[in-house]
């Protein structure tokens, strides 16, 4: 029951995303192209953040002289 409601809510959000970015007007293959480009760029950003986060945090703590 909750899963059905969650699914409906997610599909409403996806519909809003299609409307706002004008993907609603494009053909299905164009939507696939755009969505895959968006997912890959966001994925790359998240992965880079995940890989470099410890180094960045150590550099910040070093700068504020909280740790050697």
């Amino acid at each position: 029951m909750a899963l059905a409601r969650a699914w409906k809510q997610m599909s409403w959000f996806y519909y809003q995303y299609l409307l706002v970015t004008a993907l609603y007007m494009l053909e299905p293959w164009e939507r696939t192209v755009f969505n895959s480009m968006l997912v890959s760029i966001v994925g790359m950003a998240l992965y880079t953040g995940y890989v470099f986060m410890p180094q960045h945090i150590m550099a910040i703590l070093h700068y504020f002289e909280l740790v050697q």
Partner: protein, 552 residues
């Protein structure tokens, strides 16, 4: 000296008595907030009421997403054009022939790019064929497309009883045959359909004479002349009135027929900001002070071109101020009352009556019979010598076929109906019903939180949609719910301000309007269209009043 009308004119500066909610000092239509103006005329009369117009600006994120949407569409448009030129995709649009590839390109400009790549994708929302009279309900032919709107085919089914919110059927006179149209049938039997001649040769019928006398009586002017086509009335008669050495001051948002007529005339055209009296006054002052551009002689004539109701904005022209300016600077005024004749004013006589002015103040009153009278054609009315001049010199009278007799009879019948000359008060009741419907519809839409443009009393109601995808989704969803609306996008409106335009009619009953409003409410929530930040309550006057004295 008594104020000539429309605000106090002191030392050449036109001050409007305004209460503005955002405090900006200039302009009649600030982008944020609601403008109220007290209309004051030189002679005392009872029609003194504040004019409420609003042109609210959208929130920033809406404009950002609108431009992003168009940007994405443009990028994909470039991609598709590349695929088409490479030959990977079949090109369905018009292209030049092989032999012409070395010539100047025909289809590369932005307008064609836009049509091919953006308009084609959502083209099914326009040019929908209907198959019944455009009354308050009509029948739409169902059509589908198999190749993303490049071609359509009809399924053979008809969507019946779609509520009509798009036709310019303000008084409900564009209906299918009923007994009151008997005179039209008689005229058809007696005169036939074709006139087969121009006004100058053998095309002037007694029906035209009867119609012209009736139009002059309706508008309370000396004389009138009718033409077969409304667009041609503007474009063919403005060149007859002004020529080289004259100056035309035309509103920013004038209709294409006025623009075409102005360009054809050969006069100098200067544009003032939409409904902005300060801009118009500045242009008038410069014209009178500096004269013609190089020779510095006085202009032969200065003609101000405005419309009664602007169909894309729903705004009503600020007529008292324009009449005051025209009298001060000795200019001529030409009003195109295409949408306002028959639909505003206490007895439906148009904007002149709406503001309580004298029709003799306006030099050329032009209008069309397409909107409120359920026929086709246009008229020009004014002083007798003006109309006599046009009878001789108008291009339309010399070259165009005159109005067909059954259409003239339909206009005569509608006009008598509105004036009450057929013995009933139904015409007046319809005008009042239209005003009631307009106020109700606008008030409910404002309460729901949509952004609506225009004057409170105008029956043309643009509802702003902004994003191109929402334009398409809106029209499609509403047709599924059996409501027919007109949506307007880029070339007719600015790029970022796509809108849906509702035309309220006297034939709409309260139930129909309530059905439409319920569906609009649901659509507003489904598509997130309720952008307005100034949710008006049911009684705005009480909250915006600064004092409760009887005389302000």
């Amino acid at each position: 000296m008594a104020n000539p009308g429309g605000g106090a004119i002191c030392n050449g500066n036109l001050h409007n008595h305004e209460k503005q909610s955002d405090g900006s000092a200039s302009g009649n239509c600030p982008k944020n907030g609601i403008v109220k103006e007290a209309q004051q005329n030189g002679w005392p009369h009872v029609y003194d009421k504040p004019l409420v117009e609003s042109f609210e600006e959208a929130p920033l994120h809406v404009m950002v997403f609108t431009y992003l949407g168009y940007g994405l569409g443009t990028l994909f448009g470039y991609l598709r054009d590349f695929l088409r030129t490479c030959g990977i995709e079949k090109c369905n649009a018009a292209i030049e022939r092989e032999e012409q590839k070395d010539f100047v390109p025909l289809y590369q400009n932005f307008e064609n790019f836009y049509t091919r790549n953006l308009y084609m994708r959502i083209r099914d929302n326009w040019n929908r064929p209907i198959c019944s009279a455009p009354g308050s309900r009509f029948d739409v032919m169902e059509r589908v497309s198999d190749d993303y709107n490049w071609t359509f085919r009809f399924t053979g089914r008809i969507i019946k009883d779609v509520i009509n919110m798009g036709s310019y059927n303000f008084l409900g006179l564009a209906a299918s045959y009923d007994e009151s149209m008997r005179t039209v049938k008689d005229v058809l039997e007696e005169y036939g359909l074709g006139v087969a001649s121009t006004r100058h040769e053998m095309g002037t019928l007694d029906k035209h004479e009867e119609l012209e006398n009736l139009v002059a009586k309706f508008l309370n002017v000396e004389a009138a002349m009718v033409f077969g086509m409304g667009f041609a009335t503007n474009s063919m008669n403005i060149p007859a009135l002004v020529g080289k050495g004259c100056l035309i001051l035309s509103d920013e948002l004038n209709h294409a027929s006025l623009v075409l007529g102005a360009r054809l005339s050969g006069a100098t055209i200067r544009i003032f900001k939409h409904n902005n009296m300060q801009s118009l006054e500045k242009l008038l002052r410069d014209a009178v002070i500096y004269g013609q551009p190089r020779i510095r002689r006085a202009w032969k004539k200065i003609l101000i071109l405005v419309e009664g109701i602007y169909s894309m904005e729903g705004s009503i022209v600020h007529l008292p101020q324009i009449v005051a300016l025209k009298k001060k600077y000795k200019a001529y005024l030409y009003i195109d009352e295409a949408h306002s004749i028959g639909s505003v004013g206490p007895t439906g006589r148009g904007v002149v009556e709406f503001f309580g002015l004298d029709p003799r103040d306006v030099d050329v009153l032009m209008g069309t019979f397409t909107k409120s009278f359920g026929a086709s054609g246009g008229y020009i009315a004014g002083r007798k010598d003006l109309v006599d001049y046009l009878r001789v010199h108008s291009h339309s009278a010399v070259y165009a076929t005159s109005m067909s007799p059954p259409i003239a009879e339909q206009i005569i019948r509608s006009m008598k109906f509105i004036m009450g000359l057929d013995g009933t008060t139904q015409g007046l009741q319809r005008v009042r019903q239209l005003a009631k419907n307009t106020r109700y519809f606008r008030q409910r839409l404002n309460e729901m939180g949509f952004i609506i443009y225009g004057n409170e009393e105008s029956p043309v109601i643009p509802l702003l949609l902004y994003m191109p995808a929402k334009v398409a989704a809106f029209a499609r969803h509403l047709l599924n719910r059996k409501i027919g609306v007109v949506v307007v996008g880029f070339p007719a409106t600015p790029l970022a301000e796509a809108r849906a335009r509702f035309c309220v009619s006297a034939a709409h009953t309260r139930e129909m309007l309530d059905t439409v409003l319920e569906n609009l409410d649901e659509m507003g929530d489904l598509l997130q269209l309720k952008y307005s930040r100034h949710r008006k309550s049911a009684r705005p006057e009480l909250y915006d009043e600064t004092s409760f004295e009887l005389d302000d």
